[in-house]
């Protein structure tokens, strides 16, 4: 029936939500976790996002936009829960030369383990963390990231460039710190105090 196709999402049987939830809840959770950094908060954000879709998603006429809409909604819900990082304005205004990655030697990327990457990502300033997380989830193009975060495409590129530089530095630091914690202790035990 035509009327059924236009019915409000909330009036549909629950099993009609299943394909949508299955398609997106994992990526949404990963994005939420990278923002909130706590599993419970990330789960809340994902549930709230789907609830909002169920109550307001009927206004979305273009089905191709559902994915971007969900990420946008989750990000807005996250921002609603906290104040924006006040440093974002001056970071955006930095000249392109200041946004170039450093040329410091860094470990081979293949040697990074997942925990190290997640720990480094969680330390990135939020203004970079949101676009970086969406970029590394690989679900959205940079144009869709711009739409999801409601920022210009050029700003997405700028934040990715600057954010990757910061991430690379953090990973290098954490990698060497991890190495240092392993080596000195046996040396002290064996040789005693100098």
């Amino acid at each position: 029936m035509i009327a059924a196709d236009h019915a409000h999402p909330m009036s549909k049987p629950a099993d009609q939500f299943t394909p949508l939830v299955d398609a997106h809840y994992t990526s949404l959770y990963r994005f939420a976790y990278s923002l909130a950094r706590r599993p419970a908060d990330a789960s809340d954000l994902v549930q709230q996002t789907f609830y909002i879709w169920a109550t307001k998603g009927h206004s979305l006429r273009d089905n191709r936009k559902v994915k971007t809409w969900l990420f946008t909604t989750l990000y807005r819900e996250f921002l609603r829960g906290r104040r924006r990082d006040q440093r974002s304005s001056y970071l955006e205004d930095m000249p392109p030369s200041a946004q170039e990655p450093t040329t410091e030697p860094t470990p081979e990327p293949e040697r990074y383990d997942a925990q190290l990457v997640l720990a480094a990502l969680s330390e990135i300033k939020e203004v970079f963390r949101a676009p970086l997380s969406l970029f590394y989830l690989k679900d959205l193009s940079y144009e869709e990231i711009a739409e999801a975060l409601d920022i210009p495409v050029g700003t997405v590129m700028s934040r990715l460039s600057r954010g990757k530089a910061e991430l690379r530095q953090l990973l290098a630091h954490q990698f060497t710190s991890a190495d240092r914690t392993v080596i000195p202790f046996p040396a002290f035990k064996k040789g005693g105090r100098p």
Binding site: H8, M10, S11, P13, A14, F17, T18, V21, D22, Y25, T26, Y29, R30, Y33, S34, P39, S43, V46, Q47, F50, Y51, A54, T55, P96, E100, P109, E110, Y112, D113, A114, Q115, L116, V117, L118, L121, S133, F135, Y136, L137, K138, S141, Y142, E143, A146, P152, V153, G154, T155, V156, M157, S158, L160, S161, K164, L167, R168
Partner: protein, 253 residues
């Protein structure tokens, strides 16, 4: 495109190659194929991105999250129809009252004031000076069209006339990535675009001028080897410049 510009774009290239055919990404990738230094940088960047993306993929949702989402959605009551909400009923009542008052002539529609004639403006002169300096290569603050997606491609399409179909929404231009310069108190958007030669386009809001003028067709001028054309388009004052005589400008307007 130089290496710095290519790197800036390639930072947004997903390591799985999903963006490789994008009109903005393709020229940067082609440039990397021709430049060994850039190619090496891109290979290292892709390895780094692949490693980080793999780390993010290890985040696993709680086992019960999916069930909680679906159960929560099924448990929610259907919302009230929009036309039965108190807000919509209030709005309908307000409209009814407004129509009633209008019928009795209480509500009068104010006509827009006629716009004054175009006059020489210190702000416009400052904008003209800036445009000439930029076109002479003395400064480069503008955003390149290739960074502006569909609108940028439209600007660089041969034969496309700027006076026909130029977006009129200043806010929309901001949203797609245009930056604002402050010129004598005016917010001015600057975009550099390339066709057979390079052009600089400046867009300001007419309402921001202390002495706004009325709409008129493009007028051309030439000074110090730089040609300019100015015209009004709705609430926008547009100025485009290029090196050489005004023949090239007349072709794109």
């Amino acid at each position: 495109m130089n290496n710095a510009e290519a790197k800036f774009i390639l930072h947004a290239r997903r390591p799985n190659g999903a963006d490789d055919q994008h009109p903005t990404m393709r020229p940067a990738l082609d440039h990397a194929q021709r430049d060994p230094e850039l190619a090496a940088w891109l290979a290292a960047q892709t390895r780094f991105d692949t490693a980080v993306a793999a780390g993010l993929q290890t985040i696993t949702p709680p086992a019960d999250l999916r069930a909680m989402i679906l159960t929560g959605l099924a448990a929610q009551p259907a919302p009230r129809a929009w036309w039965r909400s108190p807000a919509m009923l209030g709005l309908a009542a307000a409209l009814a009252v407004a129509c009633l008052l209008g019928a009795f002539g209480v509500v009068r529609w104010q006509t827009a004031p006629t716009t004054p004639t175009w006059v020489a403006s210190p702000q416009l002169n400052a904008l003209r000076d800036l445009a000439r300096h930029e076109t002479q290569g003395m400064h480069a603050a503008g955003v390149k069209a290739m960074m502006l997606g569909e609108f940028g491609r439209w600007l660089e399409t041969p034969g496309q006339r700027l006076t026909v179909g130029l977006p009129l929404d200043f806010a929309a231009l901001h949203k797609i990535g245009c930056r604002t310069l402050n010129v004598a108190g005016l917010d001015v958007i600057e975009i550099c675009f390339q066709r057979d030669q390079q052009y600089h386009l400046y867009i300001a809001r007419r309402s921001d001028f202390s002495t706004p003028g009325k709409s008129r067709p493009p007028t051309f001028a030439q000074q110090d080897g730089i040609s300019t054309a100015e015209w009004m388009h709705g609430d926008l004052i547009c100025l485009v410049t290029t090196a050489g005589d005004s023949a090239a400008l007349k072709q794109i307007l």
